[in-house]
């Protein structure tokens, strides 16, 4: 069982610079053309955004939402998918452990930045648990989407330490993605450069699985 550890322990001691959400949005609008439309964020992230904590907190809460989804997916899948065995089961177990650790670390990081972590969203994965094949198919989508989500959000991160943490996590998501693709008989990459997704597009992609 992997031990949860902060990707960058020094985050715990990070100064809170008191960047208000208002100033972040202004800066975001000027500097980045509002890459991700905060107004379009779903209810499960809105709660955290109401709390001042700066742009990095918003991004971390976005990541936390995705990690909650993934952790729930693998946790529930391991219990519910009949016939899940061998390499697929081992991999799902490893990934579940990793995602659970990501949830813990992101929660701690957000708190250390003075932000309010989002709560675990209600989830519904439909018939993804009906067979190992269906489970692994959705797993591949989640991991690939996670990679694109982190890669899309990372350039907006202001703190170098938070960027390091995001990079540390996205690398693991990419490793997951490749391993699942191998099991699915799929190419391990889709081209030579991983795509980025804007937050809005990621939220749209995962909306079907979120109940709250």
């Amino acid at each position: 069982m992997s031990q949860s550890k902060l990707a960058a322990p020094e985050l715990a001691a990070i100064d809170i610079h008191g960047v208000s959400r208002q100033s972040f949005i202004m800066r975001g609008a000027v500097a980045a053309g509002s890459v991700y439309g905060l107004s379009a964020v779903g209810p499960f992230v809105r709660a955290a955004i109401a709390q001042d904590g700066g742009g990095d907190v918003d991004i971390l809460n976005f990541a936390l939402t995705l990690e909650y989804l993934e952790a729930a997916f693998y946790t529930q899948g391991l219990k519910q998918v009949r016939g899940l065995a061998g390499d697929a089961k081992s991999l799902a177990t490893e990934i579940r452990d990793n995602e659970t650790a990501h949830v813990r670390a992101l929660t701690k990081t957000i708190e250390s930045l003075g932000g309010k972590p989002v709560k675990a969203p209600g989830v519904d994965f439909g018939d993804a648990f009906s067979s190992p094949k269906a489970f692994l198919k959705l797993a591949q989508t989640f991991e690939d989407t996670g990679v694109s989500a982190y890669n899309g959000a990372a350039p907006m991160i202001e703190s170098t330490d938070v960027l390091g943490a995001a990079g540390s996590i996205v690398q693991v998501e990419a490793r997951h993605a490749a391993a699942i693709r191998l099991l699915n008989g799929q190419p391990i990459t889709d081209g030579a450069f991983d795509k980025s997704l804007e937050m809005q597009d990621v939220l749209d992609a995962v909306k079907p699985f979120v109940k709250s």
Binding site: G33, V35, N151, P155, G164, S168, V172, T189
Partner: protein, 221 residues
């Protein structure tokens, strides 16, 4: 695509548009757009551009970014040369594995091409390293596969180690888009050689230049 290229070249500071392109146009072509937009009339090698909205928004930090991109390019050359040497030698007998090596080689070659163009756009001169993998090849298929795994994991760690040092958001986005590809390669090769896909556990560890350079030295001629 040409219209989009021109648009981005004319307003190269628009990160939002760039990032949209990364998702919509396909990352490879988007990277080409990014590289084109970083050059041309907007190429700023001096810090005099601090007042204007330049492509790289980097002012005097282009030098730092250039050094990082040249470093990444060196690593990509080593990887490409390695896979080419492996493929040419025929030491990997398994068909599926040989195909994987070719696919990875193709990815690395695209990285070389993109980073070479970026070095030039930043005003640098690409210097491909001279490499030699005889010792690895002589070790046979098992040694070759283990070396491949080692190199990919090292490459991923190297990119992660540089992410926080890159000043230009555009170059950072490009580096991140390569970083996760190296991670995919690493995970696949780890599986092939019977190692865990996540040797560092839930959080990948970065490697600094000082840590990486001695490890690639054996492959330099």
């Amino acid at each position: 695509m040409t219209g989009a290229l021109q648009e981005l070249a004319e307003d190269p500071g628009d990160r939002k548009r760039f990032l949209r392109m990364m998702g919509g146009a396909g990352a490879a072509s988007a990277l080409a757009i990014f590289i084109a937009a970083c050059g041309g009339d907007d190429e700023e090698s001096s810090s005099a551009s601090s007042g204007s909205s330049t492509t790289m928004k980097s002012g005097g930090s282009t030098k730092g970014d250039l050094a990082i991109v040249q470093y990444a390019l060196t690593l990509e050359h080593i990887e490409t040369d390695f896979y080419n040497a492996v493929i040419d030698s025929g030491v990997v007998k398994d068909q599926a594995l040989a195909e994987t090596a070719k696919m990875i080689r193709d990815n690395e070659q695209e990285h070389v091409d993109a980073l070479t163009a970026t070095v030039k756009k930043l005003g640098g001169t690409p210097k491909p390293p001279k490499t030699n993998f005889d010792a690895v090849l002589e070790g046979g298929e098992k040694m070759v596969l283990e070396t491949a795994a080692t190199v990919e994991n090292l490459g991923a760690a190297a990119y992660l180690g540089q992410a926080g040092r890159i000043k230009s958001k555009e170059i950072l986005a490009a580096a991140l888009s390569i970083h996760t590809i190296e991670a995919r390669h690493a995970a696949a090769l780890n599986t092939v050689v019977g190692k865990t896909i996540v040797p560092d556990g839930a959080f990948a560890k970065p490697a600094s230049m000082a840590e990486v350079l001695p490890k690639i030295k054996p492959f330099l001629a």
